[in-house]
């Protein structure tokens, strides 16, 4: 699989509008859930007061004071929202782990109908959930170990090398950039490994988490840099889109009801950026994964994709091994 093909697979994955909407909808729902404790406080403070008027007009002197007073007077609501946000974020992680099963099952595969695809998605999500949870645990462990070792090493080496160097000395700055770059590379590489491990169920439905990571490591050989480049591309694209949309929403200062509606729509788009980028990245990564498949292109969705739990399934890995024997 060449890089342009994997990239194209990412773009074609975006045709899965329902999937993008599902992920965005989840994000929005969790966002609303998080903000819900603020609603009575905001209504009390801004709905029928001049403070709300100052805020929406961005009054240069009064609005900041009103916001500060809101944060103090409604501190309990703000604390409640913050707490809810953390729990909602954890729930969001679980949902992502859940959806990953369906994504792996259906993305980049030929489907006969929308209905079939939807059924396969939910079936895959349910079937691979336990596997994906285990993969997440392995990923989190690996990430924790790798980053701790690297950042600890970097800090110790940095201190030894630059303890007496002034701040922003060229060497110190270069060391900081290197640390960041390697941290990002470690995160990217482990993300690829994690995604490949989850994608392992695409070809080997019964594979366990540890075996899936081992298999993923083998499959990533020779493809790591391509994978990192793909992740970087989608991250940069998402970052740029986020920045543009945020700037548009932040800078939008008109006060009519319609303008507020437009602003809220921009915020919805803002929330859609990450799901879009993730689906696209999934498309690219799965294309890269499929290219590592010894038998070539992935099989279309069909009866093979839905093995019964007790059915004996011969993995492509074992087939490779037996053929070597």
């Amino acid at each position: 699989m060449t890089r342009p093909r994997a990239l194209a697979a990412g773009f074609s994955a975006l045709s899965r509008r329902r999937l993008v909407l599902l992920l965005t909808g989840c994000s929005l729902a969790l966002g609303i859930l998080s903000a819900a404790p603020l609603a009575p406080a905001m209504n009390d403070a801004f709905r029928d007061t001049l403070a709300g008027d100052h805020l929406i007009r961005n009054h240069p002197e009064f609005a900041p004071v009103d916001v500060l007073d809101f944060l103090r007077e409604k501190a309990a609501a703000v604390a409640g929202a913050r707490q809810t946000m953390v729990w909602a974020a954890l729930l969001g992680i679980v949902l992502q782990i859940f959806f990953a099963g369906g994504i792996v099952e259906t993305l980049g595969r030929n489907v006969f109908s929308v209905r079939e695809s939807r059924a396969a998605f939910w079936a895959g999500s349910r079937r691979h959930f336990a596997h994906n949870l285990k993969c997440f645990a392995v990923f989190a462990l690996l990430l924790g170990i790798a980053l701790s070792v690297w950042l600890g090493l970097s800090a110790a080496l940095g201190k030894a090398l630059f303890e007496h160097a002034p701040p922003h000395a060229p060497g110190r700055t270069a060391w900081g950039i290197l640390t960041l770059a390697v941290t990002a590379a470690i995160f990217g590489a482990l993300t690829l490994l994690y995604d490949f491990a989850r994608a392992g169920r695409r070809t080997t439905p019964g594979i366990g988490a540890i075996a899936a990571f081992r298999s993923a490591r083998r499959r990533l050989r020779g493809r790591l840099m391509r994978g990192l480049a793909l992740l970087l591309f989608w991250s940069l694209a998402a970052g740029a889109a986020l920045a543009l949309l945020f700037a548009a929403a932040w800078g939008e200062r008109t006060r009519s009801g319609a303008a507020v509606a437009v602003n809220l729509a921009l915020l919805f788009l803002l929330l859609a950026v990450r799901p879009i980028a993730r689906v696209a990245a999934w498309g690219s990564i799965l294309a890269l994964f499929d290219a590592s498949e010894p038998w070539g292109a992935p099989t279309p969705l069909g009866p093979r994709a839905f093995p019964r739990r007790k059915e004996s399934v011969e993995s492509s890995e074992s087939r490779v091994r037996s053929s070597q024997v």
């Binding site: 403070a45 007061t49 240069p60």
Partner: protein, 705 residues
């Protein structure tokens, strides 16, 4: 003598013992103290060795049997000093070093009179402020013969100062040295009557975590010997520069200051800037100052000042910010208080790993502070560099010239300076003077002060000794922000003209003197001809809170007439506007339909102060009232042709002391008058933003999954 005045004692003394005569504004000549110091820096060991000749002239009619010196580097000698105990080794986000080489101390090697009498045997460390028996920051030196009334004494002192790793105002990091509180410095001998003292005595406090300055005005002549590769900046004018071998001696002199600090670092990049009033003072500012002060613009003429900016190499792009802050400060303080009286001003830009020395004031010598993120988008217009520079230069006036006692009344220098800083920032940079972010969002200094003050628990009054506040935060909020708010309240109440003239009168009366809080109010009351006792008792010496609010607002059609009415000599009975005798189908009596609006205002704080009230009706009519200071609540009832759209208390926000702005208004209508308000849209919009930001935060974590 140990100073154990309570604030109440000071006030009683004020009434009984305040000298009747007003002080002159010119510095006292000859000065109370004169220092001639020769010091040498060893940058490897970070040790300054020095010889000091100090002359002290007794300003009182007392016979003074001992002298008291500040030995403030001993605050960093160990973790038992008052400073370390109070700060816990942390101050303003900075942490003291704990390695053996990180500690600092000052040792007196010898101390003799001019006649050669050794005074060290009679010297002892004293603890004037409490029970920290191990504190070594104040030295009492017994004299064999007391200093005669208005007599003088000269001492020769040899000392050795080991600088600490930069922490809280002084020390070193790498080759950067900020040398403050480094030599034996005399305290202040306060004669009876000065600052309402009942009897004369030394005022020489231990070095506390939150205060460090109180000394007499005098003349300094200091020679500093450093390796030639080091760039040096110091208090005063540089008189000479002598190179000998690998070392260079710099001689500095300055009159009428009460401290001397210096810096040395081979990495400094030097920028010279000459403040020229004709170029750097906006004509509009001069006109405004002249108008408020009722002075001719020509009488407000300022003098040029040589500014020397010592920048870190990585902060070159902050040059314009520093210069801007200095220009604004010299112009604003010069116009509204007095022309900067010295010829030089040195601004030091500390390195980012020496942030303990950020934002410090010494006479004609200040440290600013900047960080690399502030030099780039999107924080380019976060004017923290300008603000810090402006604040520290402002201290040349409030502490530098008006020499209040920072230990006992920190609000008099930090607070008054903070107020002037807020005004200067607003004048120079507009309503979002402190921080302006892309997208038209920002914060003024005064808004920041409101937020900081309101977030703190109301534990202390503004006027309190620096080490007696309940917490470090309480010290900070009261001494800086709340004083800024109090002064803004006073300015709004008196009017900018009266306020400016009164404050200038205080400044001029107490330049090169040591005023107290009582002196401040006396001076302001005399100049403004107003009774400021409520501000004094409730705000400065009390913990008064002002919280006017709209408790309830309604606007309804009055009910139709029902009941028995004697009108025009006849008795009629009405049922909901209709004559009862005419039955249900009779027409209602035609009378103009009006609205009855009821608004209940209340001050739920405990500081009685008036406020403006405004009622706006849907037809655009505006009714303004004044809510009297003594009222706990006020009920307004107005009959009008149009419905009440909104009611607000203090709509122009002139009560800077107001605690909570969210309860200041009620919006009722949705008609033309209320159409000006869009609170409902705001609620929806910002709830949406809250949800979106929460969603984005979750998505950030989803990167893991």
């Amino acid at each position: 003598m140990t100073i154990r005045h309570t604030l109440g004692g000071i006030l009683v003394s004020a009434a009984l013992l305040r000298p009747a005569a007003a002080f002159a504004a010119a510095p006292v000549r000859p000065p109370v103290v004169e220092y001639r110091i020769e010091a040498s820096l060893d940058p490897k060991t970070h040790v300054v060795t020095g010889r000091e000749r100090v002359v002290w002239r007794n300003p009182s009619g007392d016979r003074v049997p001992e002298l008291r010196f500040h030995l403030y580097l001993n605050a960093f000698k160990n973790n038992r000093s008052t400073f370390m105990r109070e700060s816990g080794g942390q101050l303003r986000g900075d942490r003291a070093g704990t390695k053996p080489e990180d500690w600092g101390a000052i040792d007196i090697i010898s101390m003799k009179t001019e006649a050669g009498m050794d005074l060290l045997p009679g010297a002892r460390k004293v603890q004037p402020d409490g029970n920290d028996a191990s504190d070594e920051t104040v030295l009492a030196v017994g004299l064999s013969s007391p200093v005669a009334p208005h007599g003088e004494i000269a001492l020769e002192i040899e000392f050795r100062s080991k600088l600490p790793r930069i922490f809280a105002r002084t020390g070193f990091v790498r080759d950067y040295h900020l040398v403050g509180q480094w030599f034996p410095k005399l305290g202040v001998y306060e004669p009876a009557g000065m600052r309402q003292r009942p009897s004369g005595g030394w005022n020489c406090h231990a070095f506390h975590a939150n205060s460090e300055f109180y000394a007499d005005f005098g003349d300094f002549d200091v020679t500093l010997d450093v390796p030639s590769s080091f760039v040096v900046g110091a208090t005063g004018r540089r008189l000479s520069e002598t190179r000998r071998g690998g070392r260079t001696s710099y001689r500095y002199a300055q009159e009428n200051v009460h401290d001397f600090a210096w810096t040395a670092d081979p990495r400094f990049v030097v920028h010279e800037y000459r403040f020229e009033p004709f170029r750097d003072v906006p004509a509009a500012w001069t006109a405004r100052a002249a108008d408020e002060l009722k002075m001719a613009p020509a009488d407000l003429a300022l003098k040029p000042v040589s500014i020397r900016l010592l920048l870190q190499p990585d902060h070159r792009s902050a040059r314009a910010d520093y210069v801007d802050g200095a220009r604004v400060a010299l112009a604003f303080y010069g116009l509204w208080f007095a022309a900067y009286p010295y010829e030089t001003l040195t601004i030091v830009d500390p390195p980012e790993d020496g942030r303990g020395s950020i934002g410090m004031e010494y006479p004609t010598f200040v440290t600013g502070g900047t960080f690399t993120p502030l030099l780039h988008w999107p924080l380019r217009d976060a004017r923290i560099t300008q603000d810090v520079t402006l604040h520290e230069i402002g201290h040349q006036y409030f502490y530098g010239m008006v020499g209040s006692n920072e230990f006992e009344e920190p609000w008099l220098d930090e607070g008054l300076n903070t107020d002037a800083e807020y005004r200067a920032m607003a004048l120079a940079y507009g309503p979002r003077d402190f921080i302006e972010l892309p997208g038209g969002v920002g914060l003024s200094s005064l808004a920041m002060a409101h937020g900081a003050a309101a977030f703190q628990k109301n534990l202390d009054p503004i006027a309190r000794s620096a080490w007696r506040f309940a917490t470090g935060d309480s010290y900070g909020v009261n001494s800086y922000m709340k004083t800024g708010l109090f002064m803004a309240q006073l300015r709004n109440d008196l009017g900018p003209g009266i306020f400016a003239r009164a404050e200038r009168a205080f400044f001029q009366e107490w330049s090169f003197r040591h005023p107290s809080s009582a002196d401040f109010f006396d001076s302001l009351e005399r100049a403004s001809r107003r009774d400021l006792s409520t501000y004094r008792s409730s705000i400065v010496f009390g913990t008064g809170v002002l919280d006017w609010q709209v408790v309830r607002a309604t606007s309804e059609r009055p009910p139709e007439d029902s009941g028995i009415f004697d009108r025009g000599g006849a008795r009629s009975t009405f049922q909901e506007g209709r004559p009862a005798s005419a039955g249900r189908n009779a027409r209602r009596e035609r009378r103009p339909r009006r609205w009855d609006s009821q608004v209940l205002f209340a001050n739920t704080g405990d500081w009685p102060h008036s406020a403006a009230a405004r009622l706006v009706f849907e037809d655009g009519r505006i009714v303004d009232r004044v809510l009297p200071a003594e009222a706990r609540w006020v009920h307004l009832s107005i009959s009008s042709r149009s419905r009440l759209a909104w009611a607000a208390v203090d709509p122009e926000r002139r009560n800077a002391w107001e605690h909570n702005r969210l309860n200041d208004s009620k919006v009722l209508g949705v008609g033309r008058g209320a159409a000006g308000t869009r609170g409902r849209a705001a609620s929806a919009k910002y709830l949406g933003w809250a949800a979106a930001m929460a969603g984005l935060f979750q998505q950030l974590l989803w990167a893991l999954a």
